[in-house]
């Protein structure tokens, strides 16, 4: 069921966007004066890799939040909260409220919080089948955007 939903979402996704484009796009968005918030709380010099299991994906304004359980080196678990673009923005670029579902295994790249708390900005996420979603899409004019790449055909 989970895979079916994802496959359905995938079929609506058009072109593939690399993370380079994503970061360029982010730079453009964040340079825009006074959007919702500044990025002062995040360490944008650090790309932190995390691997975990989805607890919940909150498809809410002003930001989506992906909550994942990450297993630490000592076997303990830490819940991370990862802020993403809004459902309005992502929904126009191929994402849906079912892009992540509880139990999904994901590898993510984030800009961590400077405070050291387990949170950050989601840059992109990769699923076990190799498909990838990028949080910062293009302008939307190209008929696609935050697409999954690398996975080939939907399952």
């Amino acid at each position: 069921m989970r895979q079916t939903n994802r496959a359905r979402a995938l079929r609506h996704v058009g072109m593939v966007l690399g993370s380079v484009i994503g970061i360029l796009a982010l730079a453009a968005w964040t340079s825009r004066a006074e959007a919702h918030h500044s990025f002062s709380a995040f360490d944008m010099q650090t790309n932190k890799d995390l691997e975990g299991e989805v607890i919940e994906f909150q498809w809410t304004n002003p930001h989506t939040f992906l909550w994942i359980n990450v297993t630490n080196a000592d076997g303990s678990k830490t819940r991370w909260g990862l802020e993403g673009m809004s459902p309005n923005f992502l929904g126009r670029r191929g994402w849906t409220k079912n892009t992540f579902e509880p139990g999904d295994k994901v590898k993510v790249v984030v800009w961590p919080l400077k405070s050291g708390e387990p949170g950050g900005t989601l840059q992109r996420a990769t699923f076990p089948d190799g498909t990838e979603v990028v949080n910062f899409g293009g302008s939307g004019g190209g008929g696609g955007g935050a697409a999954r790449s690398g996975g080939g055909a939907p399952q």
Binding site: S38, A41, P87
Partner: protein
């Protein structure tokens, strides 16, 4: 007394400057002859408020305000703005958020729906004047007219809670904004915004924003308070609320 005289001069200037040409959208028949602004418009990359042009030229008083802001930012005392607490940006920044807008024509009025922070602006096209002593609001009081293919919007009456676009760039209650909306290409809307303010600026501040048309998009709900985890504290610190309740 001098201040009052200035107000009258500015508010009187708008109708004097109005060069109405072509259909004015005062009837449905007239609206049918206007340029097609339908669909949703999203600011294009590079088309935002920093899309070129000179920075605002501040009077000494307002340059000092900006410097004080920048110094406080350097000291880490101001990490984020009011929008992080879901306070709408107000004019002019509300027009260039990374969310679409929709422009509606009805007889005698243009309405701009702004998805970000679920805002709207109403532009009176029926020949009325600005109020003599307008309430001071985030989006101001707008009147407009057509000069051929260009919609010209004149707005006054701003609260000083908002900025010119970037934090620390303050303005007075006398800020006056003129926007010129025009289809530069069939699916590209260009808005030239000129801001004057006799207390804050030594000369007009002009910038141009470009919007791309998305006919197949529809506006989406934007309730900023739904799950806003970003915050700014009174001492200027920003952060994220990571509290989480497991679903049963």
């Amino acid at each position: 007394m001098l201040r009052h005289a200035w107000f009258i001069a500015v508010f009187a200037a708008a109708p004097l400057a109005a060069q109405k040409t072509g259909p004015q959208g005062d009837t449905w028949e007239s609206i049918a002859k206007l340029p097609d602004f339908s669909g949703l418009w999203e600011v294009t990359f590079g088309g935002g408020p920093r899309g070129g042009g000179e920075p605002p030229a501040f009077t000494p008083e307002y340059a000092a305000k900006l410097q004080a802001f920048q110094a406080a930012s350097q000291r880490g005392e101001i990490e984020d703005g009011p929008a992080a607490n879901c306070v709408p940006n107000g004019m002019p920044a509300i027009m260039t958020q990374p969310y679409p807008i929709e422009i509606l024509f009805t007889p005698g009025k243009v309405t701009i729906l702004i998805e970000a922070y679920a805002q709207w602006r109403q532009i009176f096209m029926d020949g009325r004047m600005h109020p003599e002593d307008p309430d001071l609001t985030f989006n101001g009081h707008s009147t407009g007219h057509w000069e051929g293919d260009t919609l010209v919007v004149d707005t006054v009456g701003f609260t000083t809670d908002t900025s010119l676009g970037n934090q620390g760039q303050r303005h007075s209650e006398k800020m006056h904004i003129v926007e010129r909306f025009r289809l530069a290409e069939p699916d590209r809307l260009e808005v030239v915004t000129t801001i004057t303010d006799p207390e804050a600026l030594t000369k007009p501040y002009t910038r141009t924003a470009a919007y791309g048309r998305h006919r197949d998009w529809t506006l989406a709900e934007y309730v900023c308070q739904q799950n806003n985890r970003n915050f700014t504290t009174e001492d200027g610190k920003s952060g994220i609320d990571l509290s989480f309740e497991e679903k049963q």
